[in-house]
Every structure is written in C-alpha cells, then in structure tokens.
Amino acid sequence: MTWTNVIVQGVLFGGFYALFACGLSLLFGVMRIINLAHGDIAVVAGYTAVFLVPHLHVAEVWGFVVVVPIFALVGYVLQRTLLQAALDRSPLTTLLVTFGLSVLIENLLLEIYTANGQSVNIGSLIGNSWQVNSVIYVSWFQLVVLIVAVAVLGVLQVYLSKTSTGRLIRAVSDDREAAQICGANYRHIFGIAAAIAVATVALAGISYGILTELTPTTGGSQVLLYAFEAVVIGGIGSLWGTLIGGILLGVAQQIGAHYNPAYQVLAGHLLFLAILALRPQGLFGKKEALA
C-alpha cells in the first residue's frame, strides 16, 4: 500500500512537471529555441499572480484568468522582438539571449521583491485532500493540476493536428522557407506558438506558487531543470511523451524520497541520465529529431 501511495504521489507531481515542460517542448519543437529563461518566466507569472491580482479585486484562485492572457501576449511580443532577432542571427544566439534574459529576470526580481519566498494564497482550498484509504491522501489541488496538465496537452494536440493554424505551426516547424513560399508569415506563426508556450508556462508558474513557494531564483535552479528532464525523457517533439516524461520523473523522485528524502532529486536525475544513455531520442521521440 505504501508503494501505491508513492506511485500516486509521483503521478501527481508528474502532472505538474508536464505542465511546466509543455511550453519548453513546444518552443524547441517549432522554433528550435532552447529557452533558458523558461523557468524564470514561470516565476514572473507567479509573482504577477501574487502582486498584481490582489489589486484587481479578483479572488486569487482566479488569478490565472488574468495572468495567462497577459503572458500569452508577452510570449507573442517576446518572440516577435527579442527571440526573432536572436534567431535571425543564429540558433546559438537564442541560447545566449535567453540565458541573459534569465539572469536579468532573476536579478530584477531580487532587486524589487527581495529574496523572500512568495506564495499565491488560495486560502483553505490548498489544504483540502481526499483520503482514499489509511495511507493514501490525494491533494485536491495537485489532482486539479494533473487534470489541467492532461487537458492542456490534449487541447494542444488537437489544436496542432486539426486546426488550420495548428497545421501552419507544424508546416513552419518542418520547413520555414517552404511555408513562406506557401504564403505563411513564419514570424507571425512563431509568435502564435510562443504565445501558447508562454501561456502554459504562466499557468505552471501560478500552480507552483500555489503549491509551494516561489523565490526569484526558483525558475533557473529547479523548474528549468525538471522541465528539461521531462522533455528529454518523453522525447522531443511528442506532447504525450512530455506528459509521460513528467510522470516518470515524478514517480522516480517519489521512489527516491521513499528510501531517503535526500535521494528525491537524485533519483530523478538518475532516471534522466539512464534515458540519455540508453535511449537518447527519449521514450516517444523520433530518431531523426536528434539530427
């Protein structure tokens, strides 16, 4: 029974990691941008929920309704300006630019809000849980995050495969130039993809702020790494792979923590290294994605 609990808690954490990873996966899959500021953008979204939303007389639980659209817009503008300018130079430049962005965000947050931890306060809702039996408790909020993660990935999958804009996103990601000679303004399409990616990151950042505590450096040191690991384990370019990757990472961490709390992080990294060594394209990735 204890093991069942370990798995259940792992899966719940996994949903959370998957929500973080899907934006990273999309940005890399479509634009070949490795966004090192990914985690920091999530933290900024969390801070926005903490500091802006209370002024708007919106209950903090509904903060995401305000923050997510703002960040979709931020994503579009960021792509059309800074990231596109970096992409036009070379793919490696995007690495430097997003790294710089990460440093900038972390230090600005430290300067303005100090190093204190911040939480998005949703009151007593966070404490609610569902007791399955004597050992297994499922936190309502974590369950909600898992459901949201599955829903976001599902909607994204349908959007990419069934809508005309989704088709253009796939076309641009296959061959940017060929899409241009079909009449597609690839910069605009990139902007849409970035808007979606950053909106999901914002959702993940707010969830993180609700679940635990955000500090200015949370994004670079923890969030980014776990999101990367989830993407790599699942396989680049596969959204469902990202979900499975996140869940496996969560389960591995919980198993590690079960033996010794100090092994929680280590177990996740070991799974990640094992996948890199044995199946570098990830569980659901295609071999050619490595090329």
């Binding site: 796939r170 061959d175 079909c182 009449g183 597609a184 303004n185």
Partner: protein
C-alpha cells in the same frame, strides 16, 4: 503586350560570392521561359530572389507593373508568385492533403483548387491521407507542384523539377505543364536538363557564372549556341590545358 514579370539589373550575393550578376529579362503573360545553365550558374538563386527568399544587392523585380523587390516571400504569394523549390521541400510530417491545404491557405481566386489538383494527378486522391515522407521522388515532385498550384499563381516558377528523377517520371511531370499553361498561368522554369526546358519553353535564357549568356526562341537557337552558352563561349577555342 507588357511584361508580367520584369527583372532589371538583378545582382545577388551569397556572402562574398556574386551568384547573379546584372541579369535582366522579362516574361510576358502566358509565356513559358526556360532559364538554362550549368550547376552553379545562379539559376536557383535567381528564382529564389524573385520569390523573395533572397534579398538582391542591386536591381529591381517588377510584377504586374509594381516594384515587389522589398516584399517578403509570403506577401509575393498573395500577388500571384509561387515557387516549386529545388529539392521539393514538402512538409514531411504532414499528409498529402495537409501539404496542399497549407499551399492553399492564402490562395488567390482562380481555377486551381485541391480537387483540380487531384484531377491533374488522379493517384493523389486515394493517398491524400498518407504522409508525404513515404512518397517516391516523382510523387513528391507532383505534390510540390500541386502545393504551388493551389495558391492560384499568375507566375509559377519551377526549380529543377527533373532533379534526381528517372527519365520516364520526368516526362510525366513535364506532361502536365501544357495543361497549366492552358489555364493562363505564366511559367518560369529552371533546368539543368536543357532538352526538357527547350521542349516546353517559348523562350530560353541562358546563364553562365551568374551572367546572361544567351537569349532567344528555342527554334532559332542551334545546339552549338546552347552548348557555348552553357559551358562558356571559348570552350572550343581554348588550347588544351589553357584555362581551367
């Protein structure tokens, strides 16, 4: 009759290399112009510049009377310029029909839509849900032509459609061009395979090392003229071992 496409003094560089050097020509509406030349003569660069994928260092591209030199590639599609690029460049993770849908998403009004393309290439209808990555070279070339056609271009540019295809397949691809021209589409094609180019073209424009080496109608040009334009005029006169 005024020219539909008018290229004037076009110069295009790839870094230091001058790929197209002061080339001028025009294509009248309904005409088929073949640009011929050896590998590296600047033919593809010329078409890609007209399509908007390269910025010229000098010169002007006019289309239907308007200067389009500053327009992006996607905007030129809306004006009526479509390119079938070298190497086909299909969207490899998309199905045949999805490739055509992307081609048609900014289409001008006109005769070519997806059913019309299925009429030209009847095999496509059955395989429209298949992924294009598994198609043969000839099939992929047909999809690339279909993808450009569904945008209903006024000028269709074909870049080396015969490249890497078996002669029988090339013949089949070239068989559809008269049907396209019959619908009033102007065709600008680039070929290394001169005989194919000459068969369908009303006029020929030769390029040699980025410069115009020949202009004329296929029936007025001798094999010797074309050979010289293709390989260089002094080919027959230079002493052995003289010029490399």
């Amino acid at each position: 009759m005024s020219a539909l496409l008018d290229v004037e003094g076009l110069v295009v560089h790839h870094g230091q290399l001058c790929a197209v050097d002061n080339v001028s020509f025009h294509v009248a509406e309904g005409e088929v112009l073949a640009v011929v030349g050896a590998n590296g003569a600047g033919k593809s660069t010329l078409l890609r510049t007209i399509a908007g994928l390269h910025r010229p260092s000098a010169g002007v591209v006019r289309f239907a009377g308007a200067d389009i030199s500053r327009l992006g590639a996607h905007e030129r599609v809306r004006r009526g310029i479509s390119l079938v690029p070298e190497g086909r460049r299909l969207f490899r993770s998309l199905t045949l029909e999805e490739n055509l849908l992307v081609g048609a998403h900014k289409a001008l009004p006109g005769t070519f839509d997806i059913p019309a393309v299925y009429e030209i290439f009847p095999w496509m209808k059955e395989r429209r849900r298949a992924n294009v990555a598994q198609f043969s070279g000839g099939e992929q070339q047909a999809v690339a032509i279909g993808r450009a056609l569904v945008a209903n271009p006024r000028v269709l540019m074909l870049d080396e459609v015969s490249l890497g295809l078996a002669p029988i397949v090339i013949e089949r691809i070239y068989e559809v061009i008269p049907a396209i021209v019959a619908q009033g589409v102007t065709v600008l094609l680039v070929e290394q395979d001169v005989s194919q180019g000459l068969k369908v073209a009303n006029r020929v424009h030769g390029l040699l090392e980025g410069r115009t080496s020949l202009e004329g109608r296929p029936d007025e040009l001798s094999a010797r003229d074309i050979e010289e334009a293709y390989f260089g005029a002094d080919l027959h006169h230079s002493p052995p071992g003289g010029r490399s």
